[in-house]
Symmetry: C2
Subunit: 410 residues, 2 copies
Amino acid sequence: MQAINKERVAGLLQGLAQFGKTEHGITRLAYTAEDKAAQEWLLKQIQDLQLKLSVDAVGNVFLRREGKNTDLAPVAMGSHIDTVVQGGAYDGTVGVVGALEVLYMLQDEELERPIKVIIFRAEESSRFGFATIGSKLMAGVGDPDKFSGAAKEGSVTFKEALTEWGCDPAAYKQARKAAGCFKSFWEIHIEQGKVLEETGERIGIVHNIAAPTRFKIIVEGIADHSGATPMGFRKDALVSAARLVIAIEEAATNEAESGTVATVGVLDVEPSSINVVPGKATLWVDLRGVDEESINCALSDIRDAVSEIAKNDSITITMDMLTADNPVALSEELAAKLDVICAAKGIAYRHMNSGAGHDAMHMAKLAPASMLFVPCKGGISHNPAEYADNEDICLAIEILAEAVKEEASA
Amino acid sequence: MQAINKERVAGLLQGLAQFGKTEHGITRLAYTAEDKAAQEWLLKQIQDLQLKLSVDAVGNVFLRREGKNTDLAPVAMGSHIDTVVQGGAYDGTVGVVGALEVLYMLQDEELERPIKVIIFRAEESSRFGFATIGSKLMAGVGDPDKFSGAAKEGSVTFKEALTEWGCDPAAYKQARKAAGCFKSFWEIHIEQGKVLEETGERIGIVHNIAAPTRFKIIVEGIADHSGATPMGFRKDALVSAARLVIAIEEAATNEAESGTVATVGVLDVEPSSINVVPGKATLWVDLRGVDEESINCALSDIRDAVSEIAKNDSITITMDMLTADNPVALSEELAAKLDVICAAKGIAYRHMNSGAGHDAMHMAKLAPASMLFVPCKGGISHNPAEYADNEDICLAIEILAEAVKEEASA
């Protein structure tokens, strides 16, 4: 096996970080011109790998290195290159660049099986309100109509974006893959939490992935003049929305021991004028964990809070469920292989769960799947300050190269 | 005096309502193309009055009817034609159309003094975060730099809008008027509250105007991944902002007996993604009343809440004062004249205060000023459902015509 080229890894990550760069971090939303430009640049950089390119019906990209036996199910690796609004340079890109570096390291190896690197489209939910759209469609979960349903008024829907990208939304089923199409699937990702940093361990082997339950809560009050409407005569949608934000925070805090979390990431107020009592407020909520019972408990508390606040404030509040995914168990067999490699190398590592969702959770429907976590500074991600040390990234790539070499050998 | 033409009044109000009309009410923000088109249309309709038009250095419009003695200080009337976002068809326009109808009614009268109708620019704070900009600049309050300071990132500042309107921001002092420039100032306005509707009275004679104290509160947390950041590790700016919204509502409710009110009309969250813990939240607060002590008491409670929430949540919260106007007393002498006219006509009327700010409060610095309130349905204003009965509007115009005739006679 060739030695890892750490400069190439750092160079590709820095190069991708130029696409969508703004004053406040990187905004490279899925299916935008920035997403396309980043992908085209990356494919140009790795032309020397001479991989066979194919694109599925929803824009997921496959880069195939041939095996001695072309009929065997390939070993697959991959992640995504889209970001949130004002995101960082490592979430997703580490998994794509890492997978490509594995192919560089294995360039001189004659391996039995083909290997595929996948660039999944639209892992982040920032643009359409749904996460991991590319891998979902590959695994037969959801459809373009559903993914178009959460679009804010006036914004581009998933179907419109897909069409603009050159895909026919009606042909989305062609992107579906059958179980067994890959021998296994592997993904490197930054942790997006503080556990590894705090314990000083350099690698996380992931066993379960928390999946988000997402919903909108709509509060309908009455817009009134801010000066001439006495306090007792108001139906202020923002005041009720504020009570909901606090109730949601409390519901998750009560379940914190089970690792359950809840976030109101978006709160839209209408008409949003300093001299008008808010007539409407919409909250977008993300609830998740690895323990279904705990998630359901928090959701039940939130539903109770909605009823209680609606009653006490005499205001109309409705809930609109968007997604309710279940936590996913990754392959214990593949995790054991990573365990052996890490132990043999004398690396400080840890078995852990993922609070964030990943494409691997849908790939787990198609093949045994496994993930490697890399520490990230302060646990910060989805933020311009997101940072992972290149040494840590390269260590994960070296471990993955050994695992994939073994996987592709038989 | 000619009889009022109720159809003309209704027709001009309905005509103005076409400019800025949207699916959800009227959005005719100050200094926009809609504002200009509405004004041009109105001036065209009243050409038969043969008024002398002049425009000051910040775009306020004056329409002069000559008196026998051209050297005497004119009697002035007026209001505004800009609206809030998703506003209604009566706020402001009733005062402008009403003043013009008074001139129609007095067309055959030979009066000693000139009469002026003023269309004030930018009475609503919806575009620049400051209210009554046109009348403020006329009274020598504030300057274009100050009024440009509250603009949201990326939006047009007051100075830019002024330039686009054809005015030179540097020449704003030319718009200032000296005390005594008018004999008196009169404004008809919808009540924007429910008092007249509930008491069944048809006219309000206004004695004091509440003035808004406005400020921004900025909460700075840390943007983090919504799934991978445990509840106890968060600095969620929106959770602290929600506590502030509730504290502000409580502070005003405690002062409700004195008529003090407080509103968070705008709450901006950043980065505003469903899968990111909010890193920043900005609240725009409007606090007002007619009792300075009560206003200060509420403001003090809000300051205490800011300190307490910042401490308890270990988060950075800063307050940025925008305006702190004092309540304004209108002319008791002019109110007494209206009282006599109403009593003589046998009309059910009431002496009252205004919770909303008006151009009249700045005109009160230049001349004795008075206001007439017209009931509005449900007390609703700044809303597409805003409605005032044409009979009520016309009654106020008839009263004003008598008062102005008397004022202009000597």
